[in-house]
Point group: C2
Chain length 172, copies 2
C-alpha cells in the first residue's frame, strides 16, 4: 500500500509555512490503519522489547494498538496534571517557549526494554524528552518508531545513536 | 479476570472528594489490557457498526485498539485547534464552566453506524456532546461502551434511549 496516498496534507496548519500531515484520513480507512499498525510492528520484528511508550495524544492512536496486538505493556506520557499517581516531570525547550511531560514513576521498571512510538518525527524534541524520562526511570530505549518522518528537520542527528524507523517520509 | 483488581484507585485526585480510577495499571499489564479490549468488543458483538468514535486522550487508548482489531474506522474527537481540516465545533456546559470539542466534518458519513467509546462513564456530559456531534453530521450512535462506569452519577438517565455497556462498575 502507498500510505502517502492515504495521508491528507494541509498547508498552513497550525501556522503559515507548515505543511501539516493529517493522519485522520488513515484512521477512517480500516485497511490503511491496519497496514500502518502492521508496518510499525514489522519494522521492529528483530528488536526485543517489553514496553511501548507514547506521548499524548496522537501517539496513543498508534502506540496503543501496537501494544494491544503485541501483548506489550503500554505507558502513556502525558501533559502535566493528568496522571494521578507519583510522576516524574520533565521540562524541555521548544523553538518558542518550553513544555512539560509526565510519566508515572512505577510505569517503567529498571531494565525494561522500551520502544518509543509517535505518529510523527519532526524536530525530535518530544521523543528526546521521552527518552530521557525512560532512562531516568532505569529503562533502556531500544528504538523509536514513527508513521511519518520529516527528514529535512534532521531529528536523526539529535537521536543519532538510536534505531529509528519510519513508514513514510517527507522532506518537510 | 477480575479487572477491578487491575485498576488503581487514588483518593483525592484531581480534587478532594474524588476517588480516581487509574487505568494505567491495566495498560502496563498486557493480559489485563488484552482482556479489556476483548471485553469491550464482545459487549457489542450483536451490534452492527462501521465507526468507532472516541474523545481524547484516554478514549484513544481504548478506542484505537478496538478499531484496529475489528477493522472499523476510527474517528478522534479533539480539543479545539488540533484537527487541521474543516471541523464541527461543539460547546457544552460542565459543572464548573464549559468545554469545547471538535470533529472533522468529513470523518462521519451520513448514515454511518457509530459506536462511542471512552475509558470512563462519569456524568456522561462528554459522551452526550459526542453523540450530538455525530448526529449533526448525519451519523447514528448505535451504542456507547466504557471500561468503567460510575453508576452513582446516573449518566444512563442522560443517555436513556441508548445501548450502554460497561465492563466494571463503581458507585462513585
Amino acid at each position: 500500500m502507498n500510505l502517502k496516498e492515504k495521508i491528507r496534507v494541509i498547508e498552513g496548519f497550525p501556522v503559515e509555512g507548515i505543511s501539516f500531515k493529517d493522519i485522520t484520513t488513515i484512521l477512517t480507512d480500516p485497511e490503511a490503519f491496519d497496514y500502518s499498525i502492521t508496518a510499525m510492528i514489522e519494522a521492529f520484528e528483530d528488536v526485543d522489547y517489553d514496553v511501548i511508550v507514547a506521548p499524548e495524544a496522537r501517539g496513543f492512536i498508534i502506540g496503543a494498538p501496537m501494544a494491544a496486538r503485541q501483548k506489550k505493556a503500554f505507558v502513556p506520557i502525558r501533559k502535566p496534571g493528568k496522571l494521578p499517581a507519583e510522576t516524574l516531570t520533565y521540562s524541555y525547550e521548544l523553538e518558542y517557549g518550553s513544555d512539560e511531560l509526565q510519566v508515572h514513576v512505577d510505569a517503567i521498571e529498571p531494565g525494561a526494554r522500551v520502544l518509543v512510538v509517535d505518529d510523527l518525527l519532526a524536530t525530535g524534541g518530544t521523543v528526546k524528552a521521552v527518552r530521557e524520562m525512560v532512562e531516568k526511570l532505569g529503562g533502556e530505549v531500544v528504538g523509536m518508531g514513527f508513521l511519518i518522518e520529516l527528514t529535512g528537520l534532521k531529528a536523526r542527528d539529535l537521536l543519532h545513536d538510536l534505531r529509528i524507523e519510519s513508514i513514510v517520509q517527507y522532506e518537510f
